[in-house]
Amino acid sequence: MALINTLQRKINSLWCRCTYPKEIIPSSNYVQDFAIDSLVALGHNYCIVRRSNKSADDTFDDFGQVREDAILESLRRVHGNSMNLLGYFKTKYICYNQPNEAGKNWVKATDTNLWETYRSHLSFIRKSTPIFYNLKDLHRKPIPYKRPLSTDKEFKKFIENLPIKAKVEGGVAFCDGISHIVHVPTRLNYWHIEFQIQDIQGKPLKKTKNETLSVDEIMDIDNQHWQDQLAYKAFIEILVTKAKQSIGTIFPEVPSSLYISE
């Protein structure tokens, strides 16, 4: 059995090496990353794909809506959720997984010989189902949450000094976080992006208090820890609600002026 497993791993690895779309590997003449806002400003309908490691049946319901259990592993993984920008990245590429060193962020200044160095880390995932999003559905979307002023002096000062006063009731501030799509190229995939969340102060969401919430906590979500509120609401109101089973087949490509360095 061990021999068969080893053989299967070898074949999988060989298959990846032979078929991996090398055109998505970062090139030395690419910029380190580009601002998604610049892309949005172009006005095209850019699309995003994310891999579910489950079958289509276990990923989507009969309405074509994503099942929560297909994308929820932990609230802690809502911020930084991995995705890919469609265009040069094709939907079929989701079956290539870049774990470990191959999936680490690309550092243009120091990372060289990417293919030769990291190709051995690639793996092929047969059971891959694409989950699609429109970029505009995920980028810069407000996420309401409540946070007690007493939790942090700096936060209290920030709220008190806002030019447009935030609503405060019973020592609790009504805030809006915001979702962002951020371009985070990895060593073997330049078109890797992340779904990130910022709080009202513009700080990236730190680790949530809990990994998951109980039903009772969800039913009383507004009174949970503010970071849990942000992550859960971003998950439900954005990642789940805006997911699509299909989105078309032709996607605009990122103009070279954005990603080729001068």
């Binding site: 319901d61 309405f63 099942r67 259990d69 039903v215 039913m219 439900i236 109101e237």
Partner: protein
């Protein structure tokens, strides 16, 4: 093949009172399979709902086939003695080529579960046989014992939307339960009772379609598509705290956006919601 087409087909099959028809090509396209059956002294009408995804039938096909379901329709015009069995059958896929189907009669009693071996093209339902033959789906149920629901020649009322809804919810839940019963971490029997109670209330809503989903959080979720733009999502815990006993968590989506999320008593929610959609 629609139920109407199936009726016409059956009307032409006078030589074979046991004919059941459907086209596999339709199945490949993801449409529901309608199966009409005609019994010797009464005629039974079984509409088999089928939720087939193309990849389950044809491995190389695309996976995103739409799921189409047809409502049960009564057939009364081509039998000497009349009795109607309105049934809902569902096909549930597994990773193999074996499909399972369950049939229910009008009174929601569970009849049996059948397994269909796709590769061999055989289907067994007690003593009944299904065969898969060159584009046609033949159902020979000579030995299938279906008890007439009512006496002959009685005129039956068509099921109200409540009946149809409750059957549909049960079918959807059964399918979900087969796959995800492990998500129920509390007492399973209590959970089933809870679903039944919820179903009775939710069936009062006029809706186009519904999805029932179990979640790892030990909840059941009803996604109710009211019309092309509105969807009501009701989540109920199987093991709620005392404060939440009769409450559910709901969201209303309009054109894909969540417009309201709240915790409310289910009866109050549905009362209000029915008024809202009929206003």
């Amino acid at each position: 093949m629609t139920a109407i087409h199936a009726q016409q087909y059956l009307a032409n099959q006078t030589h074979n009172p046991f004919a059941v028809c459907s086209k596999w090509n339709d199945a490949y396209n993801g449409t529901a399979i309608s199966a009409l059956t005609n019994a010797t002294q009464s005629h039974a009408y079984i509409l088999l709902y089928k939720q087939l995804k193309q990849n389950q039938l044809l491995k190389n096909a695309k996976v995103n086939a739409p799921v189409i379901e047809e409502k049960v329709k009564e057939v009364t015009d081509f039998a000497t003695t009349e009795f109607t069995l309105s049934g809902i059958g569902s096909w549930n896929s597994s990773d193999t080529d074996t499909f399972e189907m369950s049939l229910e009669d009008d009174s929601l009693q569970y009849l049996d579960t059948v397994a269909f071996d796709f590769e061999n093209g055989e289907f067994s339902f007690e003593d009944a046989e299904f065969s898969f033959d060159d584009g046609e789906f033949i159902f020979d149920y000579e030995d299938l014992l279906l008890e007439p629901l009512v006496a002959q020649e009685k005129i039956y009322e068509k099921p109200t939307y409540f009946d149809a809804n409750i059957q549909l919810i049960k079918t959807k839940f059964d399918k979900e339960y087969l796959k995800y019963s492990n998500y129920i971490s509390s007492d399973k029997e209590q959970a089933l009772i809870k679903v039944k109670e919820l179903s009775k209330e939710i069936a009062n809503v006029k809706f186009e379609n519904i999805v029932v989903e179990l979640s790892p959080l030990n909840t059941v979720k009803f996604k109710i598509k009211v019309d092309s733009s509105k969807m009501l999502i009701i989540t109920s815990p199987f093991n709620p705290s005392k404060d939440m006993q009769d409450n559910v968590f709901f969201s209303l989506l309009i054109d894909g956006d969540i417009v309201i999320t709240e915790v409310l008593n289910l009866t109050s929610l549905l009362d209000g919601f029915n008024k809202y959609v009929t206003a």
